[in-house]
Subunit: 141 residues, 2 copies
DNA sequence: GTAAACCCTGTAGTAACTACAGACTCAAGA
DNA sequence: TCTTGAGTCTGTAGTTACTACAGGGTTTAC
């Protein structure tokens, strides 16, 4: 492929996409980014389609999709065979996972909040938080 | 140390604590669990103090404390030099981190929910979720 | 021409585990 | 007592998603 005016190297792609150079190379290695053409000196040459794909990956990562989930989405898109139903199902799954994580964290928050509330912040080596973690609740002694 | 009646081996500790054998050995390797005495044949021998410490670690992990945070707590406890104020501060930090995670996930939930809501689940290769991820919002074309 | 920035591949590290492999030990049953 | 399977050991490597070099080649700006 002859270098084109709109080709850019990995540093430029990194700056434009907000994804680190090393991460871009990692994505290529694990296959979610296609290997781009190279210059005579071996430099990777990217065009706008790569930038769009990388931005897709980045947005999806920011939304908490795992790389494997992103790979699944990209397989659908690359094959031009996806249906809106398929994508919706994947996204719905992810949404439900997110909700479960929130619920788990909220339980945690509750427990932690209770623990902290039992602390009077004194200067003595005696603390209800430690007791709880050592399962030495006042009722257990 | 002469084997004592209340000594038990790693499998028993694993069953009693709910922490896997390999994880126990990992905790020892990274220093949050002390190396226990050994039998003549080289088997690790644990007593109730180890079980208590491991349960502390497990509870803290379940509460989302990182191993490094747990290490910090254990340093305080081991030195018998902690104050309730120190522990409270660490726990409060952790509580605030948990709250931030919840907030982040709730934002995510909102975005994902909006995305899914735009899907009519059709059978055609045309999906607002994909468009959004490719930054091809209707208003961007 | 020079020096710094850029890029390459390969390797290894992070956090918190997890899973072998190969070899030794123990315990239960015959 | 012998046998066999379970238990344990150390060492190594893998998981996920990056991240950070090292050493060497290339490009760019002054």
């Amino acid at each position: 492929m002859v270098p084109q005016k709109d080709d850019f190297r990995i540093g430029a792609l990194s700056r434009q996409s907000g994804v680190k150079i090393e991460t871009i190379r990692y994505y290529e290695r694990i296959g979610v980014m296609p290997p781009p053409p190279r210059s005579q000196s071996g430099y990777r040459l990217y065009d706008d389609s790569h930038l769009r794909r990388l931005s897709f990956i980045r947005r999806s990562r920011h939304l908490g999709f795992s790389l494997e989930e992103i790979r699944g989405l990209l397989v659908l898109v690359d094959g031009h065979a996806y249906s809106c139903a398929q994508v919706q199902a994947l996204t719905q799954d992810h949404l439900e996972t997110t909700r479960r994580k929130i619920a788990d964290l909220q339980k945690l928050e509750g427990v932690l909040g209770d623990m902290v509330a039992q602390c009077d912040g004194g200067l003595v080596p005696d603390c209800p938080v430690i007791d709880i973690l050592f399962d030495q609740k006042p009722g257990n002694q």
